[in-house]
Symmetry: C2
Subunit: 898 residues, 2 copies
Amino acid sequence: MAKSGEKLVYAFGGGEADGRADMKALLGGKGANLAEMCALGLPVPPGFTITTEVCTYFTKHSGQYPKALAKEVDAQIKILQTEMNAGFGTPTANGNVLLLSIRSGGRASMPGMMDTVLNLGLNLQTVAALAKQSGDDRFAYDSYRRFIQMYGDVVMNVAHHHFEDVLEDFKMENNYRLDTELSSDDWKILVPKYLAVAESQSGKPFPQDPMEQLWGAITAVFNSWMNQRAITYRGLHNIPESWGTAVNVQAMVFGNMGETSATGVCFTRNPSTGDAHYYGEYLINAQGEDVVAGIRTPQPLTILEKKTSSSDLPSLEELMPDAYADLLQIKDKLEKHFTDMQDMEFTVQQGKLWMLQTRTGKRTAKAALKIAVDMKQEGLIDKTEAIRRVDPEQINQLLHPMLDPDAECEIIGTGLPASPGAASGRVVFTSSDAEAWVAKGEKVILARIETSPEDIGGMHVSEGIVTTRGGMTSHAAVVARGMGKPCVSGAGGVRIDVTKKTMSALGVTMVEGDMVTIDGASGRIIKGVVPTVDPELGGDFSKLMKWADGVRTLKIRANAETPEDAAVARNFGAEGIGLCRTEHMFFEPTRIMHMREMILADCEQSRRTALDKLLPHQKKDFLELFRIMEGLPVTVRLLDPPLHEFLPTRKEDIKAVANDLGVKEEEIEARIVQLHEFNPMLGHRGCRLGITYPEIYEVQTRAIFEAACELTKEKIKVKPEIMIPLIATLNEFSILKKLVDKIAAEVMEKTGVNVSYIVGTMIELPRAALAAGEIAKEAEFFSFGTNDLTQTTYGLSRDDSGRFIGIYREKGVIEADPFVTIDTEYVGELVKIGSERGRAENSNLHIGICGEHGGDPDSIRFFHKIGLDYVSCSPYRVPIARLAAAQAALGVEVKSNA
Amino acid sequence: MAKSGEKLVYAFGGGEADGRADMKALLGGKGANLAEMCALGLPVPPGFTITTEVCTYFTKHSGQYPKALAKEVDAQIKILQTEMNAGFGTPTANGNVLLLSIRSGGRASMPGMMDTVLNLGLNLQTVAALAKQSGDDRFAYDSYRRFIQMYGDVVMNVAHHHFEDVLEDFKMENNYRLDTELSSDDWKILVPKYLAVAESQSGKPFPQDPMEQLWGAITAVFNSWMNQRAITYRGLHNIPESWGTAVNVQAMVFGNMGETSATGVCFTRNPSTGDAHYYGEYLINAQGEDVVAGIRTPQPLTILEKKTSSSDLPSLEELMPDAYADLLQIKDKLEKHFTDMQDMEFTVQQGKLWMLQTRTGKRTAKAALKIAVDMKQEGLIDKTEAIRRVDPEQINQLLHPMLDPDAECEIIGTGLPASPGAASGRVVFTSSDAEAWVAKGEKVILARIETSPEDIGGMHVSEGIVTTRGGMTSHAAVVARGMGKPCVSGAGGVRIDVTKKTMSALGVTMVEGDMVTIDGASGRIIKGVVPTVDPELGGDFSKLMKWADGVRTLKIRANAETPEDAAVARNFGAEGIGLCRTEHMFFEPTRIMHMREMILADCEQSRRTALDKLLPHQKKDFLELFRIMEGLPVTVRLLDPPLHEFLPTRKEDIKAVANDLGVKEEEIEARIVQLHEFNPMLGHRGCRLGITYPEIYEVQTRAIFEAACELTKEKIKVKPEIMIPLIATLNEFSILKKLVDKIAAEVMEKTGVNVSYIVGTMIELPRAALAAGEIAKEAEFFSFGTNDLTQTTYGLSRDDSGRFIGIYREKGVIEADPFVTIDTEYVGELVKIGSERGRAENSNLHIGICGEHGGDPDSIRFFHKIGLDYVSCSPYRVPIARLAAAQAALGVEVKSNA
């Protein structure tokens, strides 16, 4: 809060400034950077910043200002008039008028949430002077009526449409269609009408006194800090109300004062490619918004850029060489000063260059990577800063094939970008059709209303997956990300008819076998084949990754069960497998038959007979997996899902299975009914299967150790870690650990080989997290299963939450989907409790996490902070996790704004 | 552990004893009580107890004994021979032989888990002496061969069947069918054969030296502490291994030494009725096991008892007046000494009375109540002790109608005693049939394979419920207990054919409309009508309840929504309603129609139209409820279950609903598909409905406040507490509290009446428990929903766990069903954390629990300990909870052994 004697207003201009770039808390981002540019001696239109502390005072005192403010503002206005040699409200002797912009500017960017007033200072007297000064009547009166409308809206609460009505009436009377058809005389007629509208709608005359205008605007901006839009935005982005906003009052300059004026934006390096070339666009005789609006084609800034883009428009370098030379110098100065690529706005008013803004430039993933590595090599930044500069989430784009950016696309639908990458193939609508087409040598895209575990086989053979229902964390999305396959989920506008085997959207109907392309990075579904380009994981990428590995302390493992996934993971730098889901190994046609035979068996003996048929398959899997991960740990989770997930549900599938297994359909149906669960997530699964059917875990353990012993004989180093899922009590773990130890000893004795291994558990239930101290007495490692831990802690089914989680985010009930970024507050507390209690009991306990959160940078930051040993994520996210872990080690607190 | 110099052996006998009753930890229960009786001067066969510390030493030192033990035992044996004037292994000059019993006896009773050896000391020399002493060859040689078999089994590991084989062969050779046909000469022939079996099977000769026999038996008993049976039993009953067992070595006395010998059991008061009359049974010339085995009809102890039971057998009072007089004196002495009803065993050996055991007697609920109240009134115990004496769980029997104990019953099936009480009615197999029969004025019993929320209507109108699937915590069981109706669940042997409308078991088939009786206290299903007797809640009951109310600090509320339940609850002493489940109010035919209309509505407006039709019904419910609970708080939970629970599932029901509502069947089916959830427990329910369809909570709130205001105008005091279910985050609560406050203000303004109310939440998710500090900033009360909290903390679906929870208990994985008794360790920790964090933030926070655990005495003890304000349970459990709360306040730690 503003105390008496403290400065309330910080001036900038004329090569001097009261503020600095590091005073963002007090002056907001915009104000601090304007001050910094001024202090660097750059030509910035002068102005001043009213501090965020005034905002706080204003909010707490129901719209009152600290007493000293009025005097400070008055003094600044006087200085501004002198500096600009222009009169505020009354033109100076030379006919110059001072117009002001009034803008909000908080510590964090809140684009479009708060109010702005431009051209403040215009009245009937100054508008005439402006017309004279600019030599352009139309410009002056158009500016005035725009000011009346903006001020009317923001300060006087007169809705836009009241002004638009007047304009429309006038256009109708005069048979005009476009605003551009209005002459300066027309605008002169309209101005009084606008003033009248403002007065009649607000009940107060539109102020002619510029100081009254100024205070109205300042108050409106401060008030807008507490408008509903802003409150909601802050809620969603975790911006404290107490931060407040600053108000920037700045002299207006005009890029639209004739042919010697111009306005543009430029970047110190190419924001798309990262090339270290000056890059920008501008327009002659235009305002900033014209560049952004894209009504006129912007011109290239440099001669080089003109050549590269084969433009025939003249560059600023050619047209205004003096202003360009100034700009070139300024850009070098700014990039060196801020040691990052800058995004600048400038205006040339009647030949003179003014800098309006500079900020760190947004950039593509590719550019971010190149700029970071280049700057390090140029000596501008050091290694750790280069690591900080790249957003881990963003490099995801670089790891998958992308649509060729130059290709034409006929988009037929859009869904959520659920798993990145692009792929083409023949569209199919069932898992079995997918397998059938693939058997014929075709590539397919599997399109389903939603997927279930039954579709795993089809998903495996497909190039990509589309669903019309479900969100970013639906079954399809999670499994696709796990498999590293592109996926577009929840494409609501697309209608799939499974019976007819068609997919329709936007009037296009595709039938089974038609070629389709999907882009999982953007959520687009495209008709036909679109060429893709492969990712370049070359020099810059591997350099940055190496630097990252040098600083991180968290180990990174991958969730993988197939040899392909394991190979990808190792290639991407995974330091082991943190989660091998053995059930995924059972979905291949011959295997699922044995699995079903086991489930339909009515006694332990028949179950064992069926399981014995599965054993050689499982052993083969482990032989391959262990070989690929030679020397690295492989965490194998014993069977987890409820048995009914392996049974068919559709009538025709039941028939087929009955045929295959030589049993009656009714028998299968009866077993399905018997196994039906109300809440399978909380049902007969995980270690509960191991306790009730020990023979299942026994056979799995046997397969693991037979493979491990065989490879050890070949001198291949194997480090198996046996993981028991869904533990709630120590007793469950003890019983199953004994079983594993017994089988391991048997196999090792039989083969005469010793394999060192550890047995641990997933901590995925709140009870297990709380009982971690007990469980750690026997467990040698913990792996937090944060997906299920989130489901149980929140009492929220991931598969069902899609129906209302959208509304929850809209209404600001939750900030982020807790299945994407871990709820650090309370699910996180359980992870922390579990890890602390576990370590207190067993200091050797090795602790990791293997939920989807293992690949999420924000979550990784949290896991680093609470001291876990490793995270395990899907193979394609390993590089992201490596970078995120490095940033966490460097203490990066929030996502970079890049 | 035994330290040198510490006593290892405690002697008793001859009116003196080294031990006392309060030394159970060292001497075990049996040893301590034998010592106590001796010290009281009662005629106890002398003996000694080897302490539990020797057991601990023995276990830790792989079967070694402390050095001093042998000497102490030797000394005791010498004393025993002197005291009994009998020789151990060699008869004394007068021909007397000393035989010993060797029995385990731990601190806690572990019936049948550990080993015992009787008649120790017999060999070829002493058996002859015993024959002479008793004048009965057959008795002596039969005793010897029994000893060989028992010792062979327990000490030498020779299985029983080896001895049985010898006996069978002998009987076959001699054409005997029964053991009683064998003469003393036959037993004399068999003894050497038995000795030979023991030697050939064990590889060692059967010991003739009595000291060798003795050490073998002592070692066997100590070893049996670590046998698998005992370990499992301890695991299940939470008995620490470290407690160890004592070994009691005691002189044998014989009730079967002719017509002047007898043996019996007696109680200081009648254990069935509680009447203060001496009560017992005995047999002449018999051993203790003969009384228990029931081969011979036992004789009444007293003349009074002989009359009461119209027995024509002579009483002990008549036959052995001296022994009887001694016994009478002893019984008075023991009851006074232990100040509780005693269960005693005695033997008369050739005219002399010996006391073998005394312990607190087990008793029926009725007897427990009467004895406690009587003893208080006799001045034997005080009020608090009377409260301690009655097992709260046991009095459940007294609160419901019971089958007339004298009636004949044709039992056709048995299931779990899921909800106590007895009832008769016509058997029906669907909810709608139940309603149809009841509409005709008939009483019905609803029999279903399992129930679902759709059956609520039928359950409501039925006298009782039977299911063939599901456990003690299945839907049927929980709802029936809530309604206070008898229920037998999981009657696996009964087959229900819903299509044919029949129920068959034990060869009997009943069709719809046949009369059936069920006894929910025993789980019996009986053909026809069995008369019932109503509970007597008279003098003793209300006296004890009043005493209990005087000491408890926990308040007791009831879970109730119907006027009937509320009236029962108030009558049973409930101090308010802790949970009124508004959804139960929607299952009546007209209401569910409006509910379905609401669910099928496609926009807010249509939903509101349907809800407006429900409003008057809800208001009427609240008017009745508030009136009954005048002056007491009523906690109303807003709608909780997912909407699909209100839709029909069976084809024919869908058709009927479509007809009623005038919509297409396909429309209903489509909505059912749309609302289908994978895990409804974790789905779109509770406050998630309130956030997404605020109009539902709005209308419910309006109904509550319209009713409250109307009654307030009538000067009826109303205390509504609005409870928002399934809160996971503060935001959810804030949004919905605002909604409730807004509607409440509206209604109060409109009616011009002020009603004070509070708004709170259920804490039923782990996240809510952890976030309790935040939530308590706005919530005025918490009610822990421990059912759902247990489901989520364990990741265990109550409806699905039945399939494996049995195996879990069998294998000792869990001790108690966590849905019956709260898991105090970890679910309990969350309750504790939630309540501590809540109170830290808001010291006025009122905290209760309303899960099923609210009626469970063990759980109530826990809730008292962590300082909750109240528990809420089903109306019929209110008295149980009152008593349990009083015991908790008195610091009663474990269930009484009664």
